[in-house]
Amino acid sequence: MEVPRHWRLRQQRYALVGEVCPHCDAKLFPPRDVCPHCGQEARTRFTFSGRGEVYSYTHMSDAPAGFEQNAPYTVALVKLEEGPLVTAQLTDLDGKPVEIGMPVEMVTRRIRSDDGEKGILVYGYKFRPVLAGPR
């Protein structure tokens, strides 16, 4: 049971809510309250668009505890269009080849369920290939 820990991070996890530095305008994810670029305080909320591209990726067949049900899955570094890199799973790939530079978009999915069938469901960001359609 790690309820408080998941709860504390819910906005970041569900919606990529990070921060923007009021001094140098750097967009920060994960939020860390201190800007790593200029060293000043950065606590202004900023919601990322969720669009980005694959910076690197790996397909995993052996999963750590809590993720076995999802295996095999793909872990990626995603370069968000606002700048930061994030570590996240790619989803909705079903065997299609992934490429570095591939455009992806954030979706909120189940990322883990704690304590088997009894614990809380943990939701969070994953990325999928951008869906075709008007927008």
Partner: protein, 386 residues
Amino acid sequence: MSDVVIAGVSQTPVGEHWDWSLRNLAAQAVQAGRRDAGGLMPQVVYIANVLASTVSHQANLGSLVASNAGLAGVEGVTVEAAGASGGAAARMAFLAVSSGIVDVAMVLGVEKFTDQAYAEAETALAQTMDADYESMQGATPTSQAALLMQRYLHDYNVQHDCFAGFPLNAHANAAHNPNAFFRKPISRQVYEQAETVNEPFNIFDAAPYADGAAALILTRSDIVPKDVGHGLVRITGSSIVTDTLALHDRTDPLAFQAAGFSIERACSQAGILPQDADLFELDDAFSIYAALSLEAAGFARGGEAWRLAEQGQIALGGSVPISTMGGSKGRGNPVGATGVYQLVEAALQLRGEAGKNQIPGARRALVQSLGGPASTAVTHVLEKLI
């Protein structure tokens, strides 16, 4: 500041020690280390360990190890910096002795890995990453290394088999190391046909995690018993540098910046250049780490370290021998203890006790351990005391 020498070393074989617990392993290394140092009694033991609290459900190793290994009452604490724990514990001992406050310090690396099945063990290892932003996404240390390799292949436009030279060299050297987990050379063909585990990674790109314990005794040269019976090795440079814990928080993940800075600082203390070393015991927990470490240390430009491997420069007779006793790939990777094994192996090279793997006339060694993808980098410069 006092000079610090390595008065004694010890190591257990690395492997799957079903019969030995954490405390058995620790006791063996402690006893053997003291014997090698002519019976010196340490006043403090710095214990390098990562997994005991999860895999063995055991914390406070200082007390456990001291009381179980004939060091009752001795000061003892755990030093943890993921895969760099061994190097970090050695640095603590180095600081203690060089400060003059401690006369004799022991560094004990001990790791019991094989008590948990795969998923749990992988979870325990994943604790060394950013728990909220990496391991919560299902990433593991292996996947982190695979992400780096994938990007490396892309940025430098090279094929996966360019990494073959690293495991080939490690296995060739491990064949003559009686303490190594895998004592069998592998062929290029075996590497190229190996099972992919974390695309683009195959099983030979990741060192096998295993159990093991190794120890060092650090002291001042005037304290070493005259009849110790082996050469002494001086620590002339020591440095720890950290980088961001998460790979995604770096501007250039392939740079291994902390690894580079740590080499620079240790070498500048020792008054040498990295090229002055006769061997470089780097961290080859993953073949991509070996390549990035060579590049960060300045032995090759970005994207070219694999050429050193292809040209035989990393072999025992090459210009920058690495993994001279098999490295983590061939010797096995007892996580927190690995850094101590590296220092023990380098010390044996400088003492002229490396057997068939002896680098003739080796006088100076660079030893580097990494916690994660160089989130922590510890470098020591060892020099043969003449």
